[in-house]
Structure formats: structure tokens, C-alpha cells
């Protein structure tokens, strides 16, 4: 599996570290909204298809990336720097963008 880092170009997956589901919205640290925290910690879409994920190019430039990966085929559909915060695919729409 190759992931194309926006800085380094295509690299083997062994250089990257998975950092979890990219659909989560972290509540403000001071938030006491237990439902929001519960959703952040436990709720996952777990789609069979395109999935927003956070990866770090830990064995390269060390940038954090937003990656859209197909959970069935492992195809990498898009990569972008996590800084900026734009989600690059909408799982709920179940369509590739």
C-alpha cells in the first residue's frame, strides 16, 4: 500500500502511523457535554467503503495527514495536510468526492 504524502510523494505504508478515525469532532477541552465526549471516544461510522482517516508520516516528514482510504480495497483516494482541518470526503453521503 502506497500513501502519497503531500510533501514527500508516494511512500510505503510502513513509513506511516495510523492515528484514528478522521470523522471525530473533539469537544472543547472544558466541555462537560458527556454525550459529545462519549461520541468522540466511542462512536465510529465503520463504513465498508471510503473512510476519513488521520495518519502521520512518522517515518518521513512527520506531518499529520487527512487520508481517505477505501476500507474494502485499501485504495488511497486522497491525502492532504491535516493542518487546515478540511475533511476530504463525506462518508455519510457514501460517494467519492
Amino acid at each position: 500500500m502506497l500513501i502519497t504524502c503531500p510533501y514527500c510523494g508516494p511512500r510505503d505504508v510502513i513509513e506511516f502511523t495510523y492515528q484514528g478515525d478522521g470523522n471525530r469532532e473533539r469537544p472543547q477541552p472544558a466541555s462537560q457535554d458527556l454525550d459529545a465526549w462519549n461520541a468522540y471516544v466511542y462512536d465510529r461510522l465503520n463504513p465498508a467503503g471510503d473512510h476519513n482517516e488521520i495518519w502521520q508520516h512518522s517515518g518521513g516528514c512527520r506531518a499529520h495527514l487527512r487520508v481517505v482510504r477505501n476500507t474494502i480495497t485499501h485504495e488511497i483516494l486522497s491525502t492532504a495536510f491535516a493542518r487546515g482541518g478540511h475533511k476530504s470526503a463525506d462518508n455519510k453521503a457514501e460517494s467519492r468526492s
Binding site: 503531500p6 510533501y7 514527500c8 511512500r11 517515518g59 518521513g60 516528514c61
Partner: protein, 200 residues
């Protein structure tokens, strides 16, 4: 700046640094391995949005103009610079004291400077089989069109981080952690036996 009692820096490679020809060199050596023993190895980082100002400071201090683009770099023999991550650059000099030359110019508003002169070891591999030997360690494309002259790469071998700059058409400078340098050097020598290598 005169530093009268500067101790001579020892190489971490020394016990395994054996000048001469080794391996299958009956038909000539196809790679030359050496330690470049740089006086200064620095990492500079710009805060987001300050990259251009940092690049200008690098040009002012070293005379090296960074080309545009990720991983771009330039090497003039005595000094070299290359990007290794967004907004981050490795700058090296044969001479000591480069960190002092940057002092005061990289303001807290622009970014940071980390002096790694004692924390990294620079190893050079040169020769017609340099790409071949490098490809045994690093899963990146070493072909000239994909890895142009002067460019830098951040990658790893056996899960250990390394930076590489292409300092010639068939020459690479590898920056490894000093504590791992002897281990990497031994592995590099083993990997070079097949093609015949000379340690200079």
C-alpha cells in the same frame, strides 16, 4: 571566534572505519564510502506562514538559495541546505560555528534553530552503484528525475529515521543519528561488498 582549547571530535565510526578497498573489487570499486565530518549540522524550522522569511535568512547567512518546492535543496560543496519537512530545513557547513552565524537572525517570530552538529553523523556514498546500494536500505525512488540534484528526503531504514541529500549525480549524503551511525555504517559496508567499495 577563537576557541583555543576545542577538543578534537571523535568519529563514532572509528572502530569500524577501515580505509581501503573491500568486497568484490577485483574489477574496480563501484561505490566509495566516506564520513564527511561536517563542522555544523543544523535544523531550522519556520512557524506556519514564516517559511519565506526563513528561506531569506538562510540565503543571507549561507549564500545558498533554496529552490521552490517540497524537498528542494542545493549543495555547493562546503555548504548545503535542503527541505526535509514542511517549513523545515537541514543546513550544514564544513566549518564549525554556523549556529552562531544564525544567532539573532532567526527571531522567535520566524522560527527555531536546533544545533545537531554533535547529534548527527554525515555519511557519503558515491559511485555508479550508489543508487543500487541505497535502494537496499530505503524504499524511495533514487532515480535522478524523481530525486533531483540537491534535493532532500526524509525516510527510514529498519524503522530508523534518516535524511538524504543528493549531492551529485551519483552521490548521496546520508544524515543518521550519531548513536546509530556505527550500526548503519557496518550495514552500509555489508550492502556494498557485492559491488566492491572503497573507504576513503
Amino acid at each position: 571566534m577563537a576557541e583555543p582549547h576545542l577538543p578534537e571530535r571523535q568519529s563514532p565510526l572509528e572502530p569500524e572505519y577501515n580505509p581501503g578497498s573491500h568486497g568484490n573489487f577485483e574489477h574496480g570499486v563501484d561505490v566509495i564510502l566516506s564520513e564527511t565530518r561536517l563542522g555544523s549540522i543544523l535544523q531550522l524550522a519556520a512557524w506556519p506562514g514564516e517559511e519565506k522569511r526563513l528561506i531569506e535568512v538562510i540565503r543571507k547567512v549561507t549564500g545558498l538559495a533554496l529552490p521552490d518546492g517540497a524537498g528542494g535543496g542545493v549543495n555547493n560543496g562546503a555548504r548545503a541546505v535542503f527541505g526535509f519537512a514542511p517549513g523545515k530545513f537541514t543546513v550544514v557547513d564544513e566549518a564549525e560555528g554556523l549556529a552562531q552565524a544564525f544567532a539573532g537572525l532567526i527571531t522567535p517570530a520566524i522560527g527555531t534553530l536546533t544545533d545537531l552538529s554533535h547529534g548527527r553523523t554525515a555519511i557519503r556514498i558515491a559511485g555508479p552503484k550508489a543508487e543500487w546500494v541505497m535502494a537496499k536500505f530505503f524504499a524511495i525512488d533514487f532515480a535522478l528525475p524523481a530525486f533531483p540534484l540537491g534535493a532532500g528526503r526524509s525516510t527510514n531504514h529498519h524503522d530508523i529515521f534518516a535524511q538524504i541529500q543528493r549531492s551529485g549525480a551519483d552521490q548521496f549524503d546520508i544524515y543518521v543519528f550519531r548513536s546509530f551511525a556505527r550500526s548503519f555504517w557496518k550495514a552500509l559496508c555489508h550492502a556494498s561488498e557485492e559491488v566492491g567499495y572503497e573507504v576513503q
